[in-house]
């Protein structure tokens, strides 16, 4: 009797779980799927009501995209995200290692300062940044955006790697140093190889956040160094909206997210909370 009750209860529980998570997933995926499918419509099809679910897909918007200046913007985005990732990883490995291994009174404060940048309003960073870039004559260059993206990606990478390095046993390093290796050699030949998975995850997150970033890129660029998010916004500002075109650019913009979501899923919380939560 009790067994039967438990079984019914368990089935009921499962149904509740599946129903509610399905509802939420529909809510989550619907906007994205709708945008992707609309990118294969032409201007006539997109204005039809009721909306077409089955239609003859066209690549018109994508062809238009790659004929225009958009190819250059796509390259900008790629270049900015890649350069940003390289600089961030190189700098953060050394910074994180020293914060993790050389504990002084100051290192805790430095750690906190790095962290606080992440929580300052992006707006408070962009204003002085804009003024600096203006006087350095770097406005609307790729370099300006790369440096700007480091303001939020560098703390992220340093905090994630610092937490990881602290968990590594010191004994391995001590053993290497007894054998005559210097600090730098130990770091390069031992620490970096064993940390590859983490460094890889941090690189992907850094790339993704730089690729997705909007505000800095928007304020620091005007024409030559625009990125994809900036383009999406520029397109939406025109008087007559080219909906299929915007959908196509949005679809391209989310490609990295879909490529990497599986591999960074485990680390994304760590990244977004700067290692506060693992």
């Amino acid at each position: 009797m009790i067994n039967k009750q438990v079984r019914v209860y368990n089935i009921f529980r499962k149904i509740v779980i599946y129903v509610f998570s399905s509802i939420y997933i529909v809510f989550t995926l619907f906007p994205i799927v709708w945008v992707i499918q609309s990118s294969f419509k032409d201007t006539h099809q997109i204005f039809q009501i009721p909306p077409l679910l089955i239609f003859e897909p066209t690549l018109e918007s994508y062809e238009k995209l790659f004929r225009g200046e958009i190819f250059q913007i796509f390259l900008n985005s790629l270049l900015i995200a890649t350069l940003n990732t390289i600089f961030v990883i190189v700098l953060s490995i050394f910074a994180a290692y020293s914060l993790a291994r050389f504990k002084t009174k100051a290192s805790k404060n430095i750690g906190f300062w790095i962290l606080s940048i992440r929580f300052a309003p992006a707006f408070a960073i962009i204003v002085p940044f804009y003024i600096m870039m203006y006087y350095l004559k770097l406005l609307d260059t790729i370099i300006a955006v790369v440096i700007a993206h480091m303001t939020f990606n560098l703390p992220l990478a340093i905090w994630m790697l610092k937490g990881y390095f602290e968990e590594l046993p010191v004994e391995i390093e001590e053993a290497a140093m007894i054998d005559g290796a210097t600090r730098t050699e130990t770091l390069i030949k031992i620490i970096i190889p064993i940390s590859t998975p983490m460094i890889f995850a941090v690189s992907i997150l850094t790339f993704l956040f730089s690729w997705n970033e909007f505000l800095f890129a928007f304020i620091l660029t005007s024409r030559d160094a625009r990125t994809i998010p900036v383009l999406i916004l520029a397109l939406s500002g025109t008087h007559k909206l080219d909906w299929p075109m915007m959908a196509a650019v949005s679809t391209i913009a989310i490609i990295p997210a879909f490529l990497f979501i599986h591999s960074v899923q485990k680390y994304i919380v760590r990244g977004l909370t700067l290692g506060a939560i693992k």
Binding site: R13, K14, V16, I17, F20, S21, Y24, I25, F27, T28, L29, P31, I32, W34, V35, S38, F47, I49, P50, P51, F119, A120, P121, A122, F123, A124, V127, P128, Y130, I131, W211, N212, E213, F214, L215, I219, I228, P229, I232, L233, S236, L241, W243, M246, A247, S250, A253, I254, P256, A257, F258, I261, V264, I268, V269, L272, T273, A276, I277, K278
Partner: protein, 227 residues
């Protein structure tokens, strides 16, 4: 300066509604998916997707769906099926609601992941012990889950409040602060002062005020967490 006061009010409404709702939905999802069942990992991956896509795309997707020209909700559902002649993003109160909805859509996954991590860290034997003592599900939740989840929940709330307070991309993409100043939160006001009117000094002053507000806000939450 009435625009500043207006922006503070909009920011407060936006931050509090968005934080509370995304926290509650995230908590609900975390409780649901804390159970073992088939397809859990797939569901988790699907839920997390909004965290990895550009906020601008999130904003555009919602603008697109809600548009009264082409949107499946704005044009089809509201206008064609329900015969309501409203454009969601052109009507002040509705626009604010829509922007908050998009923000909840984008940020709930983070609350979900943090709270799920918290739930999974609670030792299972506590529940077994409670079972022996005849605890009900509600009592388990009230006296085991909630107190043990509390530190992490507070961290999640702090992160969420700061994020919502600083949120710019989604609002900018959907409404640019309009119609009028209905969705003009403090960051949008700052953008307008600094980069539309080129009053860089005034924008910097606003940025400093915002930093102070965040420090006060997170200190209040941290106090509450320690108590």
């Amino acid at each position: 300066m009435p625009e500043f006061i207006n922006s503070i009010i909009v920011s407060i409404i936006y931050t509090s509604l968005s934080t509370i709702l995304s926290f509650l939905i995230g908590l609900g999802l975390a409780l649901l998916l804390n159970e073992e069942f088939k397809g859990r990992n797939l569901i988790r991956t699907l839920i997390v997707i909004p965290l990895a896509i550009p906020a601008v795309v999130a904003g555009f997707s919602w603008k697109f769906i809600l548009s009264s020209e082409v949107g499946i909700i704005g044009a089809y559902l509201l206008r064609y099926l329900l015969n309501l002649n409203v454009a969601p993003l052109a009507y002040p109160t509705l626009a604010l609601g829509c922007v908050i909805l998009a923000d909840i859509w984008a940020k709930t996954p983070l609350m979900f992941l943090i709270l799920l991590a918290g739930l999974q860290a609670i030792p299972k034997d506590l529940y077994d012990a409670a079972k022996v003592d005849g605890g009900t599900s509600w009592k388990n939740f009230r006296y085991i889950t909630l107190p043990l989840l509390r530190p992490l929940a507070i961290i999640a709330l702090i992160i969420r409040v700061i994020d919502a307070f600083n949120s710019f991309d989604i609002i900018f993409c959907m409404t640019k602060g309009g119609p009028g100043t209905a969705t003009q939160t403090l960051p949008l006001l700052g953008w307008k002062i600094g980069f539309l009117y080129y009053n860089i000094g005034e924008a910097a002053a606003l940025a400093v005020l915002m930093i102070f507000m965040i420090i006060i806000l997170s200190n209040v939450l941290i106090r509450y967490a320690i108590r």
